[in-house]
């Protein structure tokens, strides 16, 4: 079975491609970025998902399934281009799937879809509306991309479409939102708040994506590994020093004083938890994770 992966050169994209190979799939990858030393078995095309060259890959290779991971997720990248990549990229992906006979489409989304607030319940289920768009406009494009991908469920019922909302990934690659936040020796926390963070090992996340594909999931699924852990506990377990900063100082000093450059909406994510219920995914696939909470943090901490 031939699987096309967009955004294949990203850290999670690479792990997913490798996991697909391991499970005996034929893999074709598209990315704007290069992947040096990629396994030869993976056929790579350096192209932008929105451009004709990417469409040509769909046309000439006629994949049976496609996984969309070509979304810009990191918050530092704040340009109009980001929104175009995330929204038009997702539209192009779905159109190509429809036009070139792709039978199965997987959209890899984020659990931050649900948003963080003082009154949100722990353990969000898939039917909950996205509350992050309003408080955190920088995430609005990802929320919209998620909803747009979900619309393929009724727009193109002949495609088995699956939208995954995966928790933060962490691991030896040291890439991703949480890893970036933990990158320095000192990690700023908002004084008096200590939200639960839901995260899983990056290899477990890649395997979950392959599992979703193998089970031909149709619908929207939250994906998580071990139960969540308070942020301060993660910071300490990762060998970092937590620096507690009052919320007002945090807001004023963002990007200065050694504080990370984050949009102001991100503060809510450092105050309130986003935790998801992934029972539906587990029941549908019998998926189990390999790395527990401590092993996941250790793999990040001990990586070269």
């Amino acid at each position: 079975m031939k699987v096309l992966v967009t955004g294949v050169s990203g850290k999670l994209g690479r792990l997913t491609a490798l996991a697909l190979l391991q499970h005996g799939y034929e893999v074709v990858g598209i990315d704007r970025r290069a992947w040096a030393n990629a396994p030869e078995a993976i056929e790579l095309f350096q192209a932008d998902i929105r451009k004709r060259s990417a469409e040509d890959v769909f046309r000439t290779h006629r994949p049976d399934a496609a996984i969309h991971m070509a979304t810009v997720t990191h918050l530092v990248h704040q340009s109009p281009d980001r929104m175009r990549v995330n929204l038009y990229g997702t539209r192009a992906f779905i159109h190509h799937c429809h036009n070139y006979g792709v039978k199965q489409a997987v959209f890899v989304g984020r659990h931050t879809f649900y948003g963080a607030s003082a009154d949100s319940p722990l353990y969000h289920t898939e039917d909950e509306p996205p509350m992050s768009a309003q408080a955190f406009p920088e995430l609005a494009d990802l929320v919209a991309a998620d909803l747009y991908a979900g619309s393929a469920l009724w727009r193109y019922p002949e495609i088995t479409t699956c939208v995954l909302r995966i928790v933060y990934v962490l691991g030896p690659s040291k890439h991703g939102t949480l890893a970036t936040f933990l990158s320095g020796p000192n990690v700023p926390l908002v004084m008096g708040f200590d939200p639960l963070f839901h995260f899983m090992h990056e290899e477990d996340a890649a395997n979950a994506i392959v599992t979703a594909l193998a089970h031909k999931l149709h619908g929207i699924y939250n994906v998580s590994g071990p139960t969540p852990v308070p942020l301060s506990t993660i910071v300490r377990a990762a060998g970092r020093r937590p620096i507690v900063v009052p919320a007002t100082v945090f807001k004023l000093g963002m990007g200065r004083l050694g504080l990370p450059h984050l949009p102001s909406g991100a503060i809510d994510h450092l105050k309130y938890p986003i935790v998801v219920d992934s029972d539906t995914f587990r029941r549908a696939t019998r998926y189990t994770y390999q790395y527990d909470e401590r092993e996941t943090i250790d793999s990040f901490r001990n990586a070269p």
Binding site: A118, D119, P121, L122, G192, P228, P230, T233
Partner: protein
């Protein structure tokens, strides 16, 4: 963190150990309860519960020792001292101990420190989805159906009841959970409020700021009566008509009113413990 400075009371540690909770490798339960933080907070609180205040708890056996249940009672006394005392009786007096999850007001989670402490001890913003999930997981939840209107009662009205919401009853019907009514007496004496400053409260992000007889918001050492009634089980569905559900709510309210009356009589020593009808 300051909480790490709090000493551990060995008896409290044994009680936390006996709780029916599952902790992961970091000592965190799936709802974010931190075993170490909980032990330290409850150790400090145990002193207040036992020596600063004194709680005469009756009918502790009426609270199921395991499985889901909804504790429903009256609010009074400006701030939720009653909630803390119910927590104390469940954690420190009940056998086996249980950790109730109080459905608290959203504003509490907006405050630095309070948010962290509440999150690590399993106290969530009152939210039907959250409550259903906890009940289905076999947890005990604590509801004050009067909400902030209940704590806002002035000292002279402390033993009265204001309007009850119907949310707790629909929750009980949907999850088939027993309701354990309780009456709490003495809140009005511990913190005798003479006025509530609503405008100042709005500025501070709280529903109101209570003013006591002695102006400052410090409760005086008080003996409380806390009476747990027999569990009440109702038949029906969460979608029953308002009249039907309201009648059930009134039944619980009457029971609580009766428990408060008996608590008041105990307080004034006009009846003895043997005469209680729980």
């Amino acid at each position: 963190m300051l909480d790490k400075l709090l000493p551990i009371d060995p008896e409290v540690a044994a009680r936390i150990e006996a709780l029916d909770l599952e902790f992961n490798k970091f000592g965190i339960d799936p709802y974010g309860i931190d075993k170490s933080d909980l032990t330290r907070f409850v150790s400090a609180f145990a002193w207040i519960y036992r020596y600063y205040f004194k709680v005469d708890a009756y009918g502790l056996d009426n609270v199921p020792s395991q499985g889901r249940g909804i504790l429903v009672g009256n609010h009074s006394g400006g701030v939720a001292i009653d909630g803390a005392m119910v927590m104390g009786s469940m954690l420190l007096d009940a056998d086996p101990p249980r950790l109730p999850h109080a459905m608290i007001d959203e504003f509490i989670h907006r405050f630095p420190g309070a948010s962290q402490m509440m999150s690590r001890t399993g106290q969530f913003t009152g939210n039907p989805d959250q409550a259903k999930r906890l009940l289905r997981a076999g947890r005990l939840i604590l509801v004050f159906p009067e909400g902030a209107r209940g704590t806002a009662k002035l000292a002279k009205d402390a033993d009265s009841l204001v309007g009850f919401g119907t949310g707790f009853m629909r929750l009980a019907l949907e999850t088939k959970s027993p309701i354990i009514p309780f009456g709490f007496v003495g809140g009005g004496e511990a913190l005798p409020t003479i006025a509530n400053l609503k405008r100042l409260g709005r500025l501070l992000g709280v529903p109101y700021v209570p003013v006591t007889k002695w102006l400052v918001l410090v409760p005086k050492p008080t003996r409380f009566q806390l009476l747990y009634g027999k569990p009440m089980v109702f038949e029906g569905t969460a979608h029953d008509r308002d009249e039907v559900v309201c009648a059930m709510v009134d039944e619980v309210k009457d029971r609580i009113r009766d428990l408060i009356r008996q608590g008041r009589q105990l307080r004034t020593k006009t009846i003895s413990e043997e005469e209680l009808v729980l």
